[in-house]
C-alpha cells in the first residue's frame, strides 16, 4: 500500500460524485449519522483518491451523505496515493471490515468490485468470502456476482425488507420486467411464503414455457390483483394459492376435495382428521384432546354420529384424474 497523507480539509464540491467505482453502500439511512455530525462534528475523515485529476471518494459514502444533508461544504479527508483501483478498494474493504457487519447487498458489491478490479475468482473465494462470512464456494461467488447486477427494484426490496440470501438469490432468476410485478406481491408475505411464491412461479413458467410476467397477466391472477376488495396482504395470499393450484393441480384437487367433504359432513369441532402427508398412503389420523371420561365419551359419540352419515363415505373418495391434464400443462 502507498501513502496516506495527513488529513486536510477538502471542499466537497471538488469531489467527483458521479464516480462511484468504490461505492458499496447504496441503500442506507443516514439520519442517526446526521444527528451525530450535527452534535459533535465529523470525527473520522473521508478517504479520497485522485482519478483523472479529480478527487473520488474511496470510503465514507454514508458520512458524505450526512454532510451533504447538513449543508456542510467542506470536510476533513485523507488522500490516498494509490493509482491501482484494486489496492485502493482494499482500503475501504478493510476499513469497513473492522467496524461493522456488511449487509447482503454490500457483500455482493464488494465481491463484484473486486472481480471488476481484477481479483481472480479463486482468490475472492479463498481470501474474501470467508472474511464476509460467506462459504468459499463457486456457487456463492456466482450468486453474489449475480446479486450485484440485480435490478434496482429488487435491490431496494432486499435492503428495505432485509430479505435473506435464500430469497435474494431466487430473485436473480427473474428478469427486471418480471421483478416489477413480483416484488409488490412478495413483500406483504412472510419468508416461507415468499420462497413458495418465487419457486412456484419460476417452475410454472419453466414448465409452461411462459415468462413469469405473462403468467401473472392471466385473467385469474389479474382478477385478484385488480380487485379492490382485498388489501395487499390478502391479494398476495390469494395469488400464492392460485400459483400452488397451478403448480400442484392434482395434489391441491385432492386437498380441496378432502376439505370439502369435511365441510359437507360438518365434521365436529375439536376433533381433527388428517390424511397422510401428501396422501402418500390411504391412512388417516383422527385425534382429539380430552380431560376426563365425560369429554372422551362425548368425542366418541360425535365420531360415531358423523361416521353413520352417508356423506362420511366422501372422505375416502379421491378425484379422478387423467393424463390429459399433463397435456394441458
Amino acid at each position: 500500500m502507498k501513502n496516506i497523507f495527513e488529513p486536510k480539509q477538502l471542499d466537497l464540491h471538488k469531489l467527483n460524485l458521479e464516480d462511484t467505482r468504490f461505492r458499496i453502500s447504496e441503500f442506507f439511512s443516514s439520519d442517526r449519522l446526521v444527528l451525530s455530525i450535527k452534535k459533535i462534528g465529523l470525527l473520522h475523515p473521508l478517504l479520497v483518491t485522485l482519478r483523472e485529476g479529480r478527487f473520488v471518494l474511496v470510503s465514507g459514502w454514508k458520512r458524505l451523505s450526512a454532510c451533504l444533508k447538513l449543508g456542510i461544504s467542506s470536510a476533513p479527508v485523507l488522500i490516498l496515493d494509490e493509482p491501482d483501483d484494486l489496492k485502493a478498494f482494499l482500503f475501504t474493504l478493510y476499513e469497513n471490515l473492522a467496524g461493522r457487519e456488511f449487509p447482503l447487498l454490500e457483500k455482493a458489491e464488494i465481491v463484484s468490485r473486486l472481480y471488476t478490479f481484477g481479483m481472480a475468482g479463486s482468490r475472492i473465494m479463498k481470501n474474501i468470502l470467508p472474511l464476509l462470512q460467506v462459504p468459499p464456494t463457486a456457487f456463492y461467488l456466482d450468486s453474489f456476482l449475480s446479486l450485484s447486477k440485480l435490478d434496482p427494484i429488487a435491490k431496494k426490496a432486499i435492503a428495505g425488507k432485509n430479505l435473506p440470501f435464500l430469497i435474494a438469490r431466487m430473485l436473480v432468476e427473474f428478469q427486471a420486467e418480471d421483478l416489477e410485478r413480483i416484488i409488490p406481491l412478495l413483500l406483504p408475505l412472510g419468508q416461507n411464503k415468499q420462497k413458495e411464491v418465487l419457486e412456484d412461479l419460476l417452475e410454472i413458467s419453466k414448465r409452461k414455457n411462459v415468462s413469469p410476467r405473462d403468467f401473472l397477466e392471466t385473467p385469474g391472477i389479474q382478477a385478484v390483483l385488480q380487485s379492490s376488495k382485498w388489501p395487499p396482504v390478502q391479494k398476495s395470499e390469494r395469488v400464492r394459492l392460485a400459483l400452488r393450484r397451478e403448480r400442484f393441480p392434482h395434489l391441491t384437487a385432492w386437498e380441496e376435495n378432502f376439505q370439502l367433504a369435511l365441510r359437507e359432513l360438518r365434521w365436529p369441532r375439536g376433533i381433527s382428521l388428517e390424511p397422510a402427508p401428501y396422501f402418500e398412503t390411504d391412512d388417516m389420523e383422527a385425534s382429539f384432546r380430552f380431560r376426563d371420561e365425560r369429554e372422551f365419551r362425548a368425542h366418541l359419540r360425535k365420531l360415531l354420529e358423523v361416521s353413520s352419515r352417508p356423506e362420511f363415505q366422501k372422505i375416502f373418495i379421491r378425484p379422478r384424474r387423467t393424463s390429459k391434464s399433463l397435456e394441458k400443462n
Binding site: E203, R247, Y278, F279, T281, R321, S323, L326
Partner: protein, 356 residues
C-alpha cells in the same frame, strides 16, 4: 447415429496403482492421452480442488479418468432407500461415476469425487468375491457392477466385463448382471446358454433418451445391442427406470415396449423392472444448475417419507400401471384378470417403493 466410445481428456494414475496389470491394460488403450502420476494424497486433493472450483465440476470430472486402488470393500449390499422395499442386490464397486451425462443421474449428488474412477487391484476383488460367495453359498445371489457407474461404458478401455464373466460363469447360485445404457458390447465373449450372466439395459421413451440421457445411444441401438448379446448366448434384462411423465408419455412408452418385444424374444428376458422418477431435493438444485433447459423436475413432485421427491401418488401409480400393463400385454400376451390385478401382481415385486 452410433455414439462414440468414451476417451478421457486426461488420466491421473495413483502412484500405488502403477504396477497393476489393469493399469497397464487401460493405459495401453490411451496412447496420446495426457497422463500424470499422482504421487500423494495432497496432490490428489489439489487436483480435485481444481476440478471442484470449475464452473461445472461434475461435467469437468467426466473428462478425467483416475486409476487407483480400492482400499475398502468392493462388494456391498445395494444402498436401498430407508423405509422402502429393499432389492436384496449386491453391488461390485469397480468403477465410480459415468461418462454419460443423464439429467436425472443420482451419481451427480451421490459421489463425492467428480472424476471417473477405476479400481485396478483386481486380485483383491477376486479374493473378496471368493470369500463373499463362500459365505453366501446357500443363498441365491444377485450381484452386478452397474450401480455407481455404467457397466460397459469403459469396457473398451478396461476389458473388465470379460474378466467378470469369466469369474462368474458357472457359479450356480449367482446371477451376475452387467447394467448399461450403451451399445458397447464388442468385448463381451460368447457364453453357453442358458447362463447365469445377464446383460441389462436401461430403457426409456425416445424423447427422454434423446433429451435427458446425454451421450447415451438411442433406444433402438440399445435394443439392437441387446439382440446381439442374446445371439452370443446371454440372457437380458431391461430397466424402465426412471419412468418420466411428459406430454405424450403413454404413446411413447407404449412404442418402446412394443419395439422391445419386436426386437428381443421374450424368452431371453430374465427381468424387467419399473421405477418412476425420484430424486433427493439436493439433486434438483444440481439439475437446475447443470441442465437449465430440462423440464422433467417441474412436474408434481411431493416429498416422500424417505426424503426423496416423488410424483404425487396417483400420477406415480398411473405411470407404473400403464407401462406395466403394456409389458404384460405385449410381452406375455396375457394379463391377470380382475380389478387392479396387474398392479397387485406387480407390486410385491417392485422395490424402491414405500413399504406401506
Amino acid at each position: 447415429m452410433a455414439s462414440l466410445p468414451y476417451y478421457p481428456d486426461k488420466v491421473y494414475i495413483d502412484k500405488k496403482s502403477l504396477d497393476f496389470p489393469l493399469t497397464k491394460r487401460i493405459l495401453g488403450h490411451l496412447d496420446g492421452v495426457p497422463q500424470e502420476i499422482v504421487p500423494s494424497p495432497r496432490r490428489k486433493q489439489a487436483i480435485l480442488e481444481a476440478i471442484r472450483s470449475s464452473k461445472d465440476p461434475i461435467g469437468e470430472g467426466k473428462r478425467i479418468l483416475y486409476l487407483t486402488v480400492q482400499k475398502g470393500r468392493f462388494v456391498k449390499p445395494c444402498p436401498c432407500t430407508p423405509r422402502v422395499i429393499g432389492c436384496g442386490y449386491f453391488i461390485i464397486n469397480l468403477n465410480l461415476q459415468c461418462p454419460l451425462d443423464c439429467t436425472y443421474c443420482i451419481l451427480q449428488h451421490y459421489l463425492a469425487e467428480p472424476w471417473l474412477t477405476v479400481f485396478v487391484n483386481l486380485e483383491d476383488l477376486w479374493h473378496e468375491l471368493d470369500d463373499f460367495l463362500e459365505k453366501h453359498h446357500r443363498r441365491a445371489i444377485r450381484i452386478g457392477t452397474g450401480e455407481l457407474g455404467d457397466s460397459l461404458a469403459l469396457d473398451h478401455l478396461t476389458g473388465l466385463s470379460a474378466d467378470l464373466i469369466s469369474y462368474f460363469r458357472g457359479k450356480a447360485n449367482v446371477c451376475f448382471e452387467l447394467k448399461t445404457k450403451t451399445a458397447g458390447i464388442g468385448d463381451l465373449p460368447a457364453v453357453q446358454r442358458p447362463g447365469n450372466i445377464v446383460v441389462s439395459w436401461s430403457l426409456n421413451a425416445g424423447k427422454i433418451a434423446g433429451e435427458e440421457e446425454r451421450g447415451a445411444p438411442p433406444v433402438i441401438e440399445r435394443l439392437q445391442a441387446a439382440r446381439a448379446v442374446v445371439k452370443k448366448g446371454y440372457r437380458v434384462g431391461f430397466h424402465f427406470d426412471p419412468l418420466v411423465r411428459f406430454p405424450g408419455w403413454e404413446r411413447e412408452y407404449e412404442e418402446v415396449v412394443r419395439k422391445l418385444f419386436q426386437v428381443i424374444p421374450a424368452s431371453s428376458i430374465v427381468w424387467l423392472s419399473l421405477g418412476a422418477l425420484r430424486f433427493p431435493p439436493a439433486l434438483k438444485k444440481i439439475i437446475q444448475a447443470r441442465f437449465p433447459e430440462t423440464k422433467i423436475i417441474y412436474d408434481e413432485f411431493i416429498l416422500g417419507r424417505d426424503g426423496k421427491l416423488r410424483y404425487f401418488r396417483p400420477l406415480r401409480l398411473e405411470l407404473l400401471r400403464s407401462v406395466g400393463e403394456e409389458i404384460w400385454r405385449d410381452g406375455l400376451a396375457w394379463k391377470p384378470r380382475g380389478k387392479r390385478a396387474v398392479e397387485n401382481t406387480l407390486f410385491p415385486r417392485l422395490w424402491g417403493q414405500d413399504k406401506s
